[in-house]
């Protein structure tokens, strides 16, 4: 995918280098709810950056502050070296935005909506190119009312792309989509990412963040509680694998001695969530037999036993003690 060359508009020098997005000390409260509670963040150019967290973590407020739709109570926002206070008109031309709940008029066609959005931008890509990028060729003359959820979402993405943005914001791009449509949208983001676009997205799906993002910030209660590449974050849990087991009878729960379990070589951490024991484990093949023998020594027999590769979900659980999907 080739991008048309940027027109050499006279921008301050630092606008062409430096981070694509820089936030410092960002704060925002609505009535008595603190939605964003002191966020510092740099996103580099060409990076696909994910804000991951449960609903209500402050992801949408954060991204809408970046998009210039919400004014923060405190903190500094800088996009492409520019601020909303001084360069709003310029920034609007240079960012692409996909909001969470936009419903386009049902009686307009994809082409008509894209032509409308294209008219707002001084530079950008052609309608044909946008339709091709969003893989909506077959539906270009279809009215919005006849589109599937995935197609509507791709249309929203196309509207964000039509101005050939330097910075693309996607707020929960796959929420509410069926697994196939999600995969389709992931492919699209993958393509944009490999074309070198800077993308900032929010999601509450850990697999999405893991799959799409170069770096991820995990948010909870308005704060960033972890930041790094998905691999770094997963490694921070202390093991590549997670072993989960449950002890059948209730009285047995108290008899599990966590110290004995964490003493097993290869076990890095232990926690209990709703009767389910979780161990972070480095090497499955040597550690699992030891777990079984340790449990047998305690006189316990697991009623369930399974393992999986560690994911960002485990990172979130490890940090907050809660599951992402519970929210």
């Amino acid at each position: 995918m080739t991008r048309p060359s940027l027109d050499p508009s006279p921008l301050p020098k630092d606008a062409l280098n430096g981070p694509a997005l820089s936030l410092s000390g960002l704060r925002k409260a609505f009535a008595d709810v603190v939605a964003v509670d002191g966020i510092d963040l740099d996103v580099q150019r060409g990076e696909c950056f994910g804000l991951l967290g449960p609903n209500g973590a402050g992801k949408t407020t954060t991204i809408e502050i970046c998009e210039g739709l919400t004014i923060p109570d405190a903190g500094i926002v800088s996009l492409l070296g520019l601020s909303w206070q001084t360069s709003a008109a310029d920034l609007r031309q240079r960012i692409g935005v996909q909001l969470q709940e936009t419903q386009f008029p049902e009686k307009l066609t994809i082409e008509e909506i894209l032509r409308l959005f294209r008219s707002f931008f001084q530079r950008g890509i052609s309608i044909e190119e946008t339709i091709r990028m969003a893989q909506l060729e077959e539906k270009r003359r279809a009215r919005v009312g006849t589109l599937s959820g995935g197609q509507k979402q791709r249309l929203a993405m196309a509207c964000a792309l039509v101005g050939d943005p330097d910075l693309l914001f996607l707020d929960e791009p796959t929420t509410g989509l069926d697994p196939q449509a999600r995969r389709h949208l992931w492919d699209l983001v993958d393509q944009l990412r490999s074309a070198g676009r800077t993308i900032i997205l929010t999601t509450h799906y850990m697999d999405e963040a893991e799959h799409l993002c170069d770096r991820v910030a995990i948010m909870d209660h308005g704060k960033i509680i972890a930041l790094g590449t998905p691999q770094q974050l997963i490694a921070s849990v202390g093991g590549d694998h997670v072993v989960e087991f449950a002890i059948g009878a209730d009285p047995g729960k108290d008899m599990v001695d966590a110290r004995l379990l964490t003493a097993i070589p290869g076990v890095r951490a232990h926690r209990v969530d709703a009767g389910l024991h979780q161990l972070s484990v480095v090497e499955l093949h040597t550690t699992v037999p030891r777990i079984f023998s340790t449990l047998a020594e305690m006189g316990l027999k697991p009623s369930e036993f399974r393992t999986h590769s560690a994911t960002l979900e485990d990172v979130f659980v490890g940090l907050t003690g809660r599951n992402l999907r519970d929210e």
Partner: protein
Amino acid sequence: MSSLSESSLYQLTSTRFRLFLREPEALFWVFVFPILLAVGLGIAFRNRPADVLAVGATSSQLTNALSGDKGLTAATMNQAEGTYELATGRILLLAIQGAGGVAYKYDDTNPDARLAGLLADRAIQRSAGQKEALHSSNDLVHETGARYIDFVVPGLLGMNLMGSAIWGLGFSIVEARQKKLLKRFVASPMPRWQYLASFLLTRLVLLVIEVLAFLGFSKLVFGVPFRGSLWQLGLLCVLTSLSLSSLGLLIASRAKTTEAVSGLMNLAMLPMWILSGIFFSATRFPKLIQPIVQALPLTAAIAALRGNMLQGMNLSQLGAPMAVLAAWLVVPFVISLRIFRWR
């Protein structure tokens, strides 16, 4: 952006047009409904020829005398038949030939029968040789411009301009806000004034079609008069539409749901439907509330339209209603711009 079709104002306006034309209900309310209403009222209040009253007489001599009056149609019958016809309402009066004169049999509590009595007596007296003591003649009024339909057409025009202006802006804007489309627009580089301007441009184009269709129909079918200048009438229509669009914008400036804005629009329009003199003169309301009645934009609009169409007044004679309309154009517009909720 070189060509017109790529400009955002053009795109916004043509989008508004498409959305309007793809909404069959809107087409009905704007174009068809006012014509149907004019047809209905035209039929209900049409000027019927004066009724001819049926009477009976017991001799052919009397029948001839009665038939001499244009307002009566007479038949000969015997007294028994006549009494039966009277009882069944097929005749209003029976003239009975007596030895020394005529006796009239009718129900004096029925106004038509009383009228038949007067006409029958006059006809029979005349045929018996009575002379007029004083010459009199009738000058009958069936002139266009003084009929109810002539009065009501400018009223309906005003009502239609109000409905399409307020609905056209109010509903569409709030729907876009509810569906987060407004928020999506302000996240793009769209110039905000162009979004509002696209509504006004669409309104002005539709106005031409709407006014031509309705007034053209009224002229062709009812022969409604246009005594004032046509370009001034057009100007009054534009002023009316813009004033009420400004009110529609104000109504739509904060509401978050289409349900809420529908309520607000009806709340704003209801007093005008009643008070502004669409179907009868607004001056019929008590003196006490006249200041309110006269300050309503629709009252001013209809007064100006009637002044132009029925009385042939020019703009300089319509200063007062035009000032009211101008105030309704400026004040709500300024307030709306300040309080408009873009997300």
